[in-house]
């Protein structure tokens, strides 16, 4: 079973507990500017969207790294800080912008799923971010839509 972060923006309240938890886990300080997960606030639409690395199977970042600092650890693409030279090529290669250069360390940072216990999912108060079996991540959504399925005769206009 492969676990992944599954994000449901409809449930997000924009509280940023995920950013707090992520930065605290990785830096020992509360510092959203160094969080690997970011909540985007589409204010005039009333929509908040947490966004982070989805751990691509064929990861662009991993493939372009010239020093092989990014490795695949049971599906998680992990930056080995001791090897990373801060060339930032992976930040260009990533189509989603979720690998970023950290000026404070001179290395790139990205979501590493906290060694299998993601702090963001743990901190999220509304289950907008859950860490779950990727193979059945659509199950709950399917159930919701299944419930609405109505094969009875349609009302005519």
């Amino acid at each position: 079973m492969e676990l992944a972060l599954v994000i449901d923006p409809d449930k997000c309240t924009g509280c940023r507990q995920c950013e707090l938890a992520c930065s605290f886990r990785h830096t020992g300080a509360y510092n959203p500017s160094r969080s690997r997960i970011v909540v985007f606030d589409f204010h005039t639409k009333g929509r908040f969207v947490p966004y982070t690395c989805t751990q691509c199977d064929q990861a662009w970042c991993q493939q372009v790294c010239p020093v092989e600092a990014i490795t695949n650890e049971n599906g998680i693409k992990v930056v080995n800080e001791a090897i990373c030279v801060g060339c930032k090529v992976c930040t260009i290669a990533c189509p989603f912008g979720t690998v970023n250069y950290d000026p404070q360390s001179g290395k790139v940072i990205k979501c590493d799923l906290c060694d299998g216990e993601p702090a963001c999912a743990e901190a999220c108060p509304t289950e907008a971010i859950v860490f779950t079996d990727i193979a059945v991540q659509g199950y709950e959504k399917m159930r919701e839509w299944a419930e609405r399925t109505d094969t009875g005769p349609q009302a005519s206009a």
């Binding site: 020992g28 509360y30 510092n31 959203p32 009333g46 929509r47």
Partner: protein
């Protein structure tokens, strides 16, 4: 830890900016935010200073837990001497601005003097500068927010700003950050405008550390669990927002209606938190889009609404066809029940306008309500109002009156000075529903007796957030008391006042106290901050703050005979509901309250009391 230990001092007169260490001795006595900011204020200004003169100061203060992982760690306060009340002003706001200031490395900013020309302060970590704001003067909160982000090409800036009313001297001006979170009350935005300070824009990238990370995470997680499992903070507030109260307060006959002539509103259900969920007849969509949490908040009571685009208030005005801050209980009351208006879309429009132009919607609505009574009494006419048929119940009149304040028309400017000055101007001071010049909020003290003492003794003029005894008298938190009697209310009010002052100084939101006691909060502060913090110590800090504020007000010339209520609440009995036949029994509570406080029978802290708190 978890203070940053640094403050910024900005002299607007000569443009100098200096960094100072935070006075840690005071931090141990006053904690932060409300307490510590007020301590700096009372030490640095003459209490008799003209609030709108350059000699007044304006302080943006965070608490030690602001920006940490604690739930509701969003809060900051704006502290100054109020031009509305002449008292100490301390208005609290959420959103994302406060934490950002901490991440930039500062606990507090103290503004002094007056800039020769409009400016805004830009804070990006150690880079702090005053920037010319001539092109922003006259612009709204929303325009200013967008313009500053655009100019610096930095979408991550969080901006606190005033609108046009704060510039023209409207005494109901707020400071609004992040588009729709307000340090709302007592005219703190007016002081900002008087200093030619348009905005404060902040982005920070420094981390905040806590004293004992392991203990802190444990205390924070325990606290979050309590919030999630509590019926108010875990269910009612996220689902319905504070406006869950509308039907409850109406039911118990404590909803001031039509300038507090009545205590129950026949249209309450139409403007309730429940109504915000109902599909509209016009377009089949509900008013409410979603709920929103301020930074770090696991309650998420905030409302994000969308106005029906075909509604008369926004027809042909696409700029208001967006999602933005929806009504909370207080402004749904002030703009709604108090004006007799049951049109939720109109209230939402007026709320947008108050956010857009940084005005306090409680005072705005309550002042329009007073003007409506003046109109109905024939004291003012259509000529005086600039053509507005200012009748109770008219949504059109309400919207027009709020527009007039935003735009600063001749009548709008009179309204924007607040109901005390408005009613005095027209020779009917008794129609102003204010204490010490500030409009009282959404709880009628005839139906909730403790709130009478709350309003009368609040150090910033009438206010529910200084001792929210509604929690006990209506909701049974921490235990149920009878809202219709005055018995025990002096002690209840004092206990709420002291605890609230401590919470307001921590960086946390007072709404947590629907579920938390100081016993839940103390371990979080203790694990984060230097010193040993217990519930008892927090209560002592709270009482110290209360006495400090009281002393400042007395020194400012606010006499204890102003610890009173509008005559209507003391003489005219409630006409309907459970409180029918009752007036507020303030005279039964006040002497006992003074005694419990260690004040003289005349309401002055005794030498002994002042000494006890190091205030002599």
């Amino acid at each position: 830890m978890s203070w940053t230990g640094k403050i910024l001092r900005v002299n607007l007169t000569d443009g100098s900016i200096t960094e100072e260490p935070l006075n840690m001795e005071w931090a141990q006595q006053y904690l932060g935010q409300r307490g510590l900011g007020t301590k700096y204020l009372v030490e640095e200004i003459d209490p008799k200073v003209d609030p709108l003169s350059p000699d007044n100061k304006l302080i943006f203060a965070t608490g030690p837990l602001t920006g940490t992982g604690a739930s509701t760690s969003a809060r900051y306060s704006v502290i100054t001497k109020s031009p509305l009340t002449g008292c100490v002003a301390c208005s609290n706001s959420g959103g994302y601005f406060g934490p950002e200031l901490k991440y930039a490395g500062y606990d507090m900013i103290i503004f002094e003097g007056k800039a020769p020309n409009p400016v805004y302060l830009l804070v990006e970590d150690d880079n702090v500068e005053l920037v010319d704001a001539s092109d922003l003067w006259g612009k709204s909160v929303w325009e200013t927010d967008a313009a500053i982000k655009e100019k610096h090409q930095e979408p991550l800036l969080h901006i606190a700003t005033i609108g046009h009313p704060g510039e023209y001297g409207a005494l109901l001006s707020a400071v609004v950050n992040d588009g729709h979170r307000a340090a709302g009350r007592s005219g703190v935005g007016t002081v900002m405008g008087s200093k030619n300070l348009k905005a404060v824009a902040v982005h920070g990238t420094k981390g905040l550390k806590v004293k004992d990370p392991e203990a802190f995470v444990a205390a924070v997680n325990a606290g979050k669990k309590v919030l999630a499992e509590n019926a108010v903070t875990g269910e009612a507030l996220p689902t319905y927002g504070t406006n869950v109260l509308m039907n409850i307060i109406n039911e118990i006959g404590a909803l001031p209606t039509r300038n507090a002539r009545e205590v129950q509103f026949e249209g309450a259900n139409e403007i309730s938190g429940e109504a915000m969920h109902r599909p509209r007849r016009s377009d089949g969509k509900p008013n409410l889009v979603t709920n929103q949490g301020c930074f770090g908040c696991t309650i998420a009571c905030g409302r994000v609404s969308k106005i029906d685009p075909t509604h008369f208030s926004v027809k042909d005005k696409p700029q208001y066809h967006i999602a933005s801050g929806g009504v909370e209980y207080e402004n749904a009351w002030s703009l709604g029940a108090d004006c007799g208006v049951d049109d939720l879309e109109a209230l939402t429009y007026c709320n947008y306008r108050c956010n857009e132009h940084a005005m306090d919607p409680i005072s705005v609505g309550a002042t329009v309500a007073a003007a409506m009574e003046l109109y109905e009494e024939g004291v003012i006419d259509k000529e005086e109002t600039g053509g507005i048929e200012l009748k109770f119940g008219s949504a059109e009149a309400l919207c027009a009156a709020v527009d007039a304040m935003c735009e600063g028309t001749e009548f709008g400017k009179k309204l924007a000075m607040g109901s005390k000055r408005l009613c005095e101007h027209y020779g009917r001071p008794e129609l102003s529903m204010t204490v010490k010049g500030q409009e009282f909020p959404a709880y009628d003290p005839r139906g909730i007796q403790g709130m009478g003492l709350t309003y009368a003794t609040s150090n910033r003029g009438a206010c529910h957030l200084r001792s929210y005894t509604v929690a006990s008298e209506v909701l049974g938190i921490p235990e149920k008391t009878d809202p219709l009697t005055t018995d025990g209310k002096a002690a209840l009010v004092k206990a709420f006042q002291d605890a609230t002052a401590a919470v307001d100084s921590s960086g946390l939101c007072i709404f947590t106290t629907f579920a938390w006691t100081l016993e839940d909060i103390a371990p979080q502060i203790d694990a984060a901050c230097e010193g040993e913090w217990t519930a008892e110590r927090l209560l002592e800090v709270g009482e110290r703050i209360w006495n400090m504020e009281r002393k400042f007000n007395l020194d400012a010339g606010i006499t204890p005979d102003q610890d009173t209520l509008p005559k209507r609440l003391l003489k005219d009995a409630a006409k309907t509901g459970p409180a029918k036949g009752l007036v507020n029994g303030l005279d039964k509570m006040l002497p006992e309250y003074y005694a419990l406080r260690g004040w003289t029978p005349d309401g002055v802290p005794t030498e002994q009391t002042l000494q006890r708190f190091g205030l002599a």
